[in-house]
């Protein structure tokens, strides 16, 4: 095993990978803590369509993948972010962890389908969109949207687009800018 590598359960991460995931999770948790207040209030008060235009909840774990490009990075960063939100105090209580898991699985599946290759804008947009849609299915259960099923179905394509554009493109541009600085070559 390489020096500074922690390997447990088949995945192999360097200490640097773990620190980067923790750091991006910290940045995301702080950003999402503010955003979550707005999103949860909008969604709780107006139903599935309320928060569908706010698609920024995927950028942290997408950037983590763009920086590290390893299996499991997206999922771990996503779950870690929601653990951070939970420990800072989130308006959805312990249910926030469910979004971490669903968003992580959604994005991870897309990266797995592309065999964890260098992510282009399309891959990142697709990962953001799929993750958001899976998260919306979980929101259906948390907020009890059985009575507004039409609104719920309508919210899915809107959320897919908003998350793909807002989070996917943001992650792409940030990773491109990081690449120019040369910081990613050392990873």
């Amino acid at each position: 095993m390489a020096k500074g590598t922690v390997s447990e359960g088949g995945f192999s991460y360097k200490t640097y990978d773990i620190v980067v995931m923790a750091l991006l999770a910290a940045i995301s948790a702080v950003a999402y803590a503010g955003l979550a207040q707005v999103w949860t209030a909008l969604t709780a008060a107006t139903g599935p369509l309320g928060g569908a235009f706010l698609g920024l909840f995927q950028f942290g774990h997408l950037i983590a993948f763009a920086v590290l490009r390893k299996p499991g990075v997206t999922f771990i960063t996503s779950v870690l972010t929601t653990v951070g939100q939970l420990l800072i105090g989130d308006p959805a209580g312990a249910y926030v962890l469910g979004w971490g898991v669903t968003h992580g699985i959604g994005a991870e599946v897309v990266f797995l389908a592309t065999r964890y290759r260098n992510p282009g804008p399309l891959t990142l947009c697709l990962a953001g969109g799929v993750a958001a849609v899976l998260g919306q299915l979980y929101s259906y259960w948390v907020f009890g949207w059985e009575g507004v099923i039409t609104m719920f179905y309508l919210s899915i394509p809107i959320l897919f687009l908003s998350s793909a554009v807002e989070s996917g493109l943001l992650a792409y541009y940030v990773s491109k800018a990081l690449e120019k600085t040369g910081v990613l070559r050392r990873v």
Binding site: V6, K14, A22, L80, G89, G147, A177, L178, T181
Partner: protein
């Protein structure tokens, strides 16, 4: 031991399990009355089993009340059924009132449990407990690292924002706003990645990558029967409420 020290004496893992159980049982309950009993048990825990002060609770009032209230208002007017009364042109039905109470109380129970956990737990001891429970060090420690980074990155974000503000005119066009946001995020992530490099180097130098077998702890939390009694009593009470009422 004073009864008000019960939650402080419980180990963090037990309290975390209690939060999970409260959230699961709240989601499984099928009537507002059951949920009201669960709320009462949570208030009892807060007032009589912990030394949480009023100021500490007030700090979380927005999280505790805002979203459950919004969810209550949303469901109240949504469900058709037997009309109880009207507020303007909006009809409140029996079904709406039941659904609104159910969903908002479910969320309120989970948030309350988390708030009680935060008010009575030292997060550092939670991480040590996780490692003692043989949770891989990298996962347990990454939570601690992430929490260490939160205040550092908040200050960093403020500094970058102030630096950007001093360099641009007060009146900003749409394209300038976008450019500023991109610069802000890129700088923040870049600073973070640089900081991560330094932290990783320092951690490797101190033997972080050796794993958990040879790790020792200073002031490690100890397992105590109080936690076991508290959790068992809560488990029996919450599932008892669900099945008996």
């Amino acid at each position: 031991m004073a009864i008000r020290d019960t939650l402080a004496k419980c180990d963090p893992i037990t309290k975390l399990l209690w939060v999970a159980n409260t959230s699961v049982v709240a989601a499984a309950m099928r009537s507002p009355l059951q949920l009201l009993f669960l709320v009462a048990s949570l208030i009892f825990c807060l007032l009589f089993l912990s030394r949480a002060n009023i100021l500490g609770i007030v700090k979380y009032w927005q999280i505790l009340l805002f979203v459950p209230t919004c969810l209550f208002a949303f469901h109240l007017f949504l469900h058709p059924g037997q009309e109880l009364f009207r507020i303007g042109f909006l009809a409140v039905t029996q079904e709406g009132l039941t659904a609104a109470s159910m969903h908002s109380l479910k969320l309120f129970c989970s948030i309350s449990a988390v708030v009680i956990f935060l008010l009575t737990t030292d997060i550092k001891s939670l991480i040590v407990s996780l490692i003692q429970m043989r949770v891989p060090v990298r996962f347990a420690y990454s939570i601690y690292l992430m929490l260490r980074f939160v205040p550092i990155m908040t200050v960093e974000a403020e500094t970058i924002l102030m630096a950007l503000r001093t360099r641009v005119p007060r009146k900003r066009s749409g394209s300038l706003w976008l450019l500023l946001w991109e610069r802000y995020l890129v700088t923040l992530v870049l600073m973070g990645v640089r900081r991560a490099e330094q932290a990783a180097l320092a951690m490797d130098a101190r033997g972080f990558s050796l794993g958990s077998k040879t790790r020792t702890f200073l002031d490690a939390p100890r397992w105590d029967r109080t936690g076991m009694y508290f959790f068992t009593a809560n488990l029996a009470l919450s599932w008892g409420i669900k099945s008996l009422l």
